[in-house]
Symmetry: C2
Subunit: 276 residues, 2 copies
């Protein structure tokens, strides 16, 4: 999916919400465990209930790999289901991969071509030649970790690297890489005060923002500085939506939580304060 | 496997070689492609031929994920084969994972408990709470990326972070994390001149060293500063060993290459220059 299509979907749905499909068998309704593929059945129900309010879905790979081959089957079925039934959705493989060149190329092929994701999250530590193989794919997006939502972000990311913090260096340097138009960045909502400076470095890039809700970040604070004239934000919520209820009504409860966020987004998109 | 056992195996075999099982279907002998599981058949043959000369095996996950479910099956069969038939081998999941706490925990469980690897490579960018869930596993090892063997290492890793290079900060700070006795580090052989300073920060830690051979690093140069009284080095070679021949004799050719390195290691281990 190209960026124009994503922006047009956001306008159409009045939402820049991404639902994180981080499926934990201990947290989903118990009655689903009787199904042959509980993870996929859960995802299907969540997708069917929430798709009117969201423009993106993001399975975190760890939750699938934790179940080995069965997990991979559930992931494959989920992405195929999305691509077949909801081709307008932007799909994100939250894999946080990154390796030397020829190896990154194998990851890129696996996630973009074989599985059919629109994008993948990638760690920047190994630098340019570990990321460019992902960037080489047309109409696919590489979402580079910049400033993450966890405490550990302060260990290295916010430490001064030369004249500025490492995460700023990651933004600055990666902009110079080949096909950098295919870059997006992960920036945690828990660090809303950083968005102003981030927008000075990457004024137009899409930012994938985890940490709204369960991790404590505020949607309004993020939008105040993060929103651009082409939106430029995908706000992810996982636990707050998909685990809204553990009962028979889990999908309905998820939809209600997703709609709450969508309505807030609609208000922000139509607000007088947003960039023209 | 605990570190003492690894060291004792190194002494017994007079080798600190690790064979990288980075299986690319385009590079393995064509006749194997007729097998039901060519990746596993290739690995089995390589393991049977090379095990007298090596103490560790390291499958890089990208090469398995590239084949989806089939790849995961081949990986599972390979690690089970190793644990059953060669339990003395130190096994490394070269996965370069790392995510927020609860997610890292899922990865750790998947690789350590479910698959049964002795160790996993982890990226440091997300800091302490992304790594500590791996460190919590007893007699399992977390191999943190410090200074990698690729060109991109110069993008961020060698950049000054405060008073010293980022990779040195990674070494220094990670030493303070809980259960840091379970840490090892990735340091590329292509940067042999850095080993002296690295040993000042982590005098005793095991270093996993890729980049000998195909990537141009020299074994002697690495050992000069990297070797400790408890060895402290695992030298990885992948392509130089496993793709030594594309013919029927591929396993024999791999064994010959592994033995060449093992003999060099034996000489070094018995040399007069090594630390007492």
């Amino acid at each position: 999916m190209n960026t124009e299509k994503l922006i047009s979907e956001i306008h159409k749905k009045q939402s820049f919400l991404c639902v994180g499909l981080d499926v934990d068998l201990q947290k989903i309704p118990a009655f689903l465990l009787k199904e042959e593929d509980p993870i996929f059945e859960f995802n299907k129900a969540i997708i069917e209930a929430t798709h009117p309010f969201t423009v993106a879905y993001k399975p975190n790979l760890a939750f699938y790999e934790a179940h080995g081959i069965k997990g991979w089957q559930a992931l494959k079925k989920t992405i195929h289901y999305l691509n077949k039934n909801h081709p307008e959705m932007f799909t994100i493989a939250d894999a946080k991969r990154g390796d030397i060149g020829n190896t990154s190329q194998m990851y890129a092929k696996a996630f973009f071509n074989d599985l059919g994701f629109d994008s993948i999250t990638v760690a920047p530590y190994m630098g340019k030649d570990s990321v460019e193989p992902f960037l080489a794919f047309k109409e696919k997006h590489t979402i580079l970790l910049a400033l993450t939502s966890n405490e550990g972000a302060y260990d290295f990311q916010t430490k001064k690297a030369g004249d500025k913090a490492l995460y700023k260096k990651v933004l600055e340097i990666s902009k110079q890489w080949k096909n950098s138009q295919n870059l997006m960045y992960v920036v945690g909502a828990t660090k809303a005060e950083y968005f102003k400076e981030i927008r000075q470095i990457v004024p137009d890039s899409f930012l994938l923002v985890p940490g709204v809700g369960a991790q404590g970040g505020s949607l309004k604070a993020v939008c105040k500085y993060g929103l651009t004239k082409n939106i430029g934000l995908l706000i992810n919520s996982s636990r707050g939506i998909i685990y809204a209820s553990k009962e028979k009504d889990f999908a309905k409860a998820a939809a209600e939580e997703a709609e709450k966020l969508q309505l807030q987004m609609k208000t922000i998109l139509n607000g007088t304060n947003r960039p023209a």
